[in-house]
């Protein structure tokens, strides 16, 4: 792949994806919408795992929190404006990430993995055990948020393809944002912290503050995904912040190849697609009943033989070394 192509490839992909609603307008469009939402979620986690060297096993907390924020901010039977509910939900996530970040960033390695999990579990039980958000049965968002400019409806979220375009736009925007951020001094410092935290400190970088900023940004971006996921089906349930969800998004990041933004996107596609294919009874018959067996084995194979994920697999066919991936 030459560098020119690499540069334009993301735009080409986004362009092609934008055309998708012309071909298919219901199920696969909604599935793709979901994949794109998960791609935002995966990118937000990749910022932590792949670029800051922090393995969070509780990232679903921020995803789910945004969904619940929308559900609780919206009046029960009336529409809520996206203009304030969207930033408000994300601000709540960012704030929660900031607070939890201050605590979890005191720990390292396995402890970090476990403490992030603990905070997610806490939040899980808050929504599962109390009446705050409808308990274990979840809560509905009856009317989708509106996006109006004056009296004009800018985007009608009830319309599947309009919602899809909005999600696609936000996915591309997230990609762009992270791309810029990671190329900035801030991003370089994060990479440095990932590679050699100790040295960064000796060089005079206030490592904790950088990590906290990254953690907060990551939480906020997960919030974008969570908000969109809640809007898509109008339904949130405690399960969206369970450790299974945190595990799933971590799988996406690693499957795609951590430390590459497009890897996170590829991972989200691959993960959802794999589930679709493996559980497809038309193709696998009775074996599809045990599709999770195949899923588990595939995950293990990736862990053993594809440490750089699918993006790494692509890279092996003649691209730059991994360490430079952030330079492009």
């Amino acid at each position: 792949m030459n560098s020119r192509l690499t540069k334009f490839l993301p735009w080409l992909v986004v362009g092609l994806l934008a055309l998708f609603p012309l071909m298919e307008s219901t199920f696969y469009l909604q599935l793709l919408t979901k994949v794109l939402i998960m791609a935002i979620f995966a990118m937000s986690l990749d910022l932590l795992v792949g670029y800051t060297g922090l393995v969070s096993f509780g990232h679903a907390a921020y995803f789910g929190l945004a969904g619940y924020a929308l559900a609780l901010l919206a009046p029960k039977y009336e529409t809520v404006s996206l203009w304030w509910s969207f930033p408000a939900s994300i601000a709540i996530c960012a704030l929660f990430a900031l607070i939890t970040g201050m605590l979890v960033l005191r720990t390292r390695g396995i402890y970090f993995i476990m403490v992030t999990l603990a905070f997610a579990q806490m939040l899980f039980f808050v929504f599962h055990d109390t009446k705050l958000g409808g308990g274990s049965d979840g809560i509905y968002i009856y009317a989708k948020p509106t996006m109006k400019l004056g009296e004009m409806e800018l985007v009608n979220l009830e319309k599947l393809e309009q919602f899809y375009w909005l999600v696609l736009f936000l996915m591309a925007a997230t990609y762009m944002l992270l791309h810029r951020v990671l190329g900035s001094s801030f991003g370089r410092a994060l990479l440095g912290i990932k590679v050699n935290e100790h040295r960064m400190r000796a060089l005079g970088f206030p490592v904790f503050r950088y990590q906290l900023a990254s953690f907060t940004l990551s939480g906020a971006l997960a919030g974008i995904a969570g908000y969109l996921a809640a809007v898509q089906y109008g339904f949130v349930n405690p399960e969206i912040l369970s450790w299974h969800q945190s595990g799933a998004v971590l799988m996406m990041v690693i499957l795609g190849g951590m430390g590459t933004l497009h890897g996170a996107v590829i991972g989200a596609f691959a993960f959802v697609l794999l589930q679709e294919v493996l559980s497809n009874q038309a193709w696998f018959g009775i074996a599809a009943k045990h599709w999770q067996l195949a899923m588990g084995m595939l995950i293990m194979l990736v862990a053993l033989y594809l440490p750089q994920g699918l993006a790494g697999l692509m890279q092996r066919f003649g691209r730059k070394p991994v360490a430079e991936a952030a330079d492009d």
């Binding site: 109390t130 595990g247 971590l250 690693i254 588990g296 084995m297």
Partner: protein, 288 residues
């Protein structure tokens, strides 16, 4: 709550704590000595319980089932270490998380294929099938007390193994300096295989002797998994002492939490964990 019931709840809490220790002890060993983060620990617990059920229904004796099953789980542990885990020691924890997450799915489905999705019970051994009356309408099952005894024996045994034996010395040295041990001509690979097998066997053993109490059900592994992690992390990774302290702490917190603050009982252990880690980021008995 009057004083007598307070004492009984105290007993409940301690007993539950010991039970937690039983499951978590293997995890902390593998964690601390090999630096492996093993999400599939709960699956070994489940495998133990199902083995206890299927073998005890064949042999009509839980003891016989355990005697048969423990060697099987040791072999399982050694095989897994050789085939899978060995390749991940030098890698980031992330890949261990990934691999063991995959293992959970595999074990869960294999369980479904081999043993089905039913709920099963294992009979308490006749000798221990009795209760000690505590109040006019409450009594304490002897089997629970027996398990507590086993837990304490096991704790003592582990402590002895690690602190006093040659194997334990090698294990400790291996934990602190892999290269050094290797240069002394000790086969570190063998030690790791043994430790991992020990960890698997401990988890499975916990599942076995707990089977008569907990009943044998699908997904029982993932229920204990998270709480085990909490125990290990609060106690300090790799510390048997810490695992014991943390288990008892959690046992008491859950017991009194359910009675005194039922509204937030579900999250009480996580709050506890967060507090401990903010106060001591490396756990109660962890090395900095």
């Amino acid at each position: 709550m009057d004083f007598a019931f307070f004492l009984i709840q105290l007993l409940n809490g301690l007993q539950y704590g010991l039970l937690l220790f039983l499951v978590a002890s293997g995890l902390t060993l593998v964690f601390g000595i090999m630096g492996i983060i093993n999400l599939a620990h709960g699956s070994f617990y489940m495998v133990g319980a199902y083995l206890a059920w299927s073998l005890s229904s064949m042999t009509d004796s839980l003891v016989a089932a355990i005697l048969l099953a423990v060697p099987l789980t040791v072999i399982l542990g050694m095989a897994l270490e050789r085939l899978l885990f060995r390749h991940l020691y030098q890698r980031d924890h992330l890949y261990q998380v990934l691999l063991t997450y995959g293992l959970i799915l595999v074990f869960e489905e294999l369980r479904s294929i081999i043993w089905g999705d039913d709920v099963h019970g294992v009979a308490v051994p006749a000798l221990l099938n009795a209760s000690i009356p505590l109040t006019d309408n409450l009594s304490y099952p002897v089997y629970r007390l027996a398990i507590s005894g086993v837990c304490m024996l096991l704790a003592a045994g582990l402590y002895f193994l690690i602190q006093k034996t040659r194997l334990g010395m090698m294990i400790r040295a291996g934990a602190s300096n892999r290269d050094m041990v290797q240069s002394l001509g000790i086969d570190i690979k063998l030690i790791y295989t043994l430790v991992f097998a020990l960890g698997v066997a401990l988890a499975a053993f916990a599942g076995m002797i707990n089977a008569p109490l907990s009943s044998v059900t699908p997904n029982m592994g993932s229920q204990v998994l998270i709480i085990c992690f909490v125990v290990v992390v609060i106690g300090g990774i790799g510390s048997v002492k810490g695992a014991m302290a943390a288990s008892l702490m959690i046992g008491l917190a859950e017991t009194f939490g359910q009675v005194l603050v039922p509204e937030v009982a579900g999250m009480i252990v996580y709050v506890l964990m967060a507090i401990v880690l903010v106060w001591r980021p490396e756990g109660l008995f962890g090395k900095a």
